[in-house]
């Protein structure tokens, strides 16, 4: 039955249900016993106890590594990194160990883990608390990369991530914890399938995470102007829904990719490159990317705004593409 939930609350509900269904699911991270920094674990300690809702020392490397060790023996940890930025303290653990173990050991092990990394710009948090590094993880064999943008997806994808036997880098956007939306618990999610957020045939806008919400708003504005934009929310970057994007661009002939992360070396490059490789010159206009300039995220709000990909920018660029 469809209910209204927040983005944070939807993931919490998914996690709660998964913990009720499977005693091997547990979660670990700093301050989880008091509900987590963003309240994403509220009530779980009371329901499941301190063994299954575990606090942690400020030891990101050990949180990641210990959860991995526990996953290898058959438990299913949900790992909280607090801010995606701090997860960089556990990079060897994620990249050299977790992502590689199954392969290196010839298939003897699995790492069924959900690694939650709240990402993105939020309230003047400056350079060390604002990063979006999803393209890094998409580049690493062995990892699945989730970038949900709505309560519905944060519910269904969290469930799918916990059910997966692969390590899933699960990037929630800090700016939308409080976003409300309908959640149908019976809507299934299947990895690598995009969601059409808006229909249209004049141009294809590909996006993910919070930026997909802005892309949808942009499409509404564009629709009022008579420009039909198909907005494709990728939802996961590995695997990603090439087919949906290729089919859409084959129809529209115009491609715009928008993401919050730095444009240079961002996953938008992968999307544009893939489409160009497959479709060659079959474009009505040269494809475009919108991402952050290659600068650092500042503290002052007006400076922070300089780096944002806004709804307006998406609208303007879309118009240019359709001229």
């Amino acid at each position: 039955m469809t209910r209204s939930m927040t983005y944070a609350g939807a993931a919490l509900e998914a996690l709660r249900e998964a913990m009720q269904a499977d005693p091997k699911v547990w979660c670990v991270g700093e301050d989880l016993g008091r509900g987590g920094v963003f309240g994403q674990y509220k009530g779980l300690r009371e329901e499941f106890g301190e063994l299954r809702v575990s606090d942690a020392p400020i030891s990101e490397a050990a949180i990641m590594a210990a959860a991995f060790g526990a996953a290898m023996v058959g438990t299913r940890p949900v790992v909280e990194m607090r801010f995606a930025d701090f997860a960089l303290c556990a990079t060897d653990e994620l990249i050299n160990q977790i992502a590689k173990a199954r392969f290196m050991f010839g298939g003897q092990s699995r790492a069924p883990m959900v690694i939650r990394k709240p990402m993105g710009m939020w309230r003047s948090s400056a350079a060390q608390h604002s990063q979006s590094l999803e393209s890094w993880y998409a580049h690493i064999p062995g990892l699945v990369v989730a970038v949900p943008s709505t309560p519905q997806d944060n519910y269904a994808m969290m469930k799918a991530a916990i059910a997966a036997d692969d390590p899933v880098v699960y990037l929630e956007h800090k700016n939308i914890w409080a976003n409300e939306g309908p959640v149908d618990p019976d809507e299934t999610y299947s990895w690598g399938t995009a969601r059409q957020r808006h229909a249209g045939s004049d141009l294809t806008i590909v996006s993910w995470s919070d930026c997909a919400n802005r892309a949808e708003l942009a499409a509404k504005t564009l629709a009022a102007e008579g420009i039909g934009a198909e907005v494709i929310d990728l939802r996961s970057l590995w695997p990603w829904d090439k087919q949906a994007v290729l089919d859409s661009v084959a129809r529209s002939g115009r491609l715009l990719v928008a993401h919050e992360s730095v444009a240079v070396g961002g996953f938008g490059a992968e999307v544009v490159a893939t489409v160009c490789e497959r479709l060659g010159g079959a474009f009505k206009a040269a494809p475009r990317r919108l991402g952050a300039p290659r600068s650092l995220i500042p503290y002052a709000p007006n400076l922070e705004d300089q780096l944002r990909v806004t709804t307006d920018m998406i609208v303007t660029t879309a118009r240019e593409l359709c001229q």
């Binding site: 700093e30 301050d31 016993g33 008091r34 920094v37 606090d55 942690a56 020392p57 400020i58 030891s59 990101e60 490397a61 930025d85 701090f86 303290c89 309230r123 003047s124 948090s125 400056a126 350079a127 060390q128 608390h129 730095v262 444009a263 240079v264 990317r289 919108l290 991402g291 952050a292 300039p293 290659r294 600068s295 650092l296 500042p298 503290y299 002052a300 709000p301 007006n302 400076l303 300089q306 780096l307």
Partner: protein, 332 residues
């Protein structure tokens, strides 16, 4: 009761610094809560002023300092201008980092303050490295490196202390143990006998002190700083204190008993203790109140000046990224 040879001038200076730190943070809190002008998180060191004031009093101006997310007190004690600091908290052009860093990245290289850090424990080996640089350059400065009790559970604690000891570097590590790591009692997540024992196992001279007794801190710090300056060997100071406020200014600390917290504050506030010490040494209450009022007036003015300052020019977001391949707006 204070000893006959009590140094009233030093004691007064220590109180002054603690009052200035507290007044600065009270104004910062007002700027955040009353004025809604501080958007990012700020972490107050209310109740922890003694270790900042006491340790840094032992330093020369050209000595170096590194700090944490809870670094206003250290920065002020090292000699930074409170107006520039406040402007930084408000994200203004006149801020000590031009509005780019905010509270968690406050820094003033002119007074040897090489930066707060938003990543727990990260500054520990960086500070050891600053001392390594001093050794390579061959001068006689030293480095003081502050961090919290929660920071001793991250790897850089071990790597940084081992580094300093192996390379015989002039650095004083100061663990400000306020018993809390955000909403977690640090003791529940920390094994063994604590920070000083860990430091000792890594080969450092290691001392503990009542970190709310500013005179004791200052005495021990003077001793340690002299030893480091002469021996060029690192040392470790564990200062026991208490975090009077929530973790951030917007944290109501509902995970701990308000009554217990208040009792701790009433029984053991470093500023009140030093006021008593100075009264015991013959200073009048009026004199002490005047110190507080001066500090408050200074920080009210700092906040006013900061509020009057402009935001940084938009284009500055493209400055000071790098020389080679500096970003441009159209770089994507």
């Amino acid at each position: 009761m204070t000893a006959a040879n009590y140094d009233t001038a030093r004691g007064t200076a220590l109180l002054e610094m603690m009052e200035r730190i507290r007044a600065f943070e009270r104004q910062a809190e007002l700027a955040a809560i009353r004025d809604q002008l501080v958007l990012g998180a700020i972490h107050l060191s209310l109740g922890q002023e003694a270790s900042a004031a006491g340790v840094i009093a032992a330093l020369r101006r050209d000595d170096l300092l590194l700090s944490t997310h809870r670094g206003h007190g250290h920065t002020l004690a090292k000699g930074a201008d409170p107006t520039a600091m406040m402007a930084e908290l408000l994200g203004r052009e006149t801020g000590c980092c031009g509005g780019k860093g905010g509270s968690m990245h406050i820094a003033d290289f002119d007074v040897g303050m090489l930066g707060a850090n938003g990543v727990v424990s990260a500054n520990i080996p960086i500070g050891a490295g600053a001392a390594h640089g001093i050794k390579l350059l061959g001068d006689d400065r030293i480095v003081v490196n502050f961090f919290g009790d929660g920071a001793i559970n991250r790897g850089p604690f071990l790597e940084g202390l081992n580094w300093a000891a192996v390379f015989e570097l002039p650095v004083l590590f100061v663990c400000e143990d306020n018993e809390w790591s955000a909403t977690t009692r640090t003791a529940t997540m920390t094994a063994g006998a604590g920070a000083a024992a860990r430091a000792q196992s890594l080969g450092l001279r290691s001392e503990s002190v009542d970190g709310n007794d500013v005179e004791a801190v200052a005495d021990l710090a003077r001793d340690l700083v002299d030893a480091i300056r002469n021996s060029r060997q690192p040392a470790f100071l564990h200062a026991r204190t208490f975090r009077q406020s929530g973790h951030t200014y917007f944290d109501p600390a509902s995970y701990r008993s308000q009554a217990e917290t208040q009792a701790r504050i009433d029984a053991d506030d470093p500023i009140e203790r030093q006021r008593e010490t100075l009264q015991g040494a013959g200073l009048a209450k009026d004199q002490l109140d005047a110190i507080r009022q001066a500090a408050e007036a200074e920080m009210v003015a700092a906040l006013e000046a900061a509020k009057a300052a402009a935001f940084p020019p938009d284009e500055s977001v493209f400055a000071d990224v790098q020389d080679i391949g500096s970003p441009e707006r159209e770089a994507f």
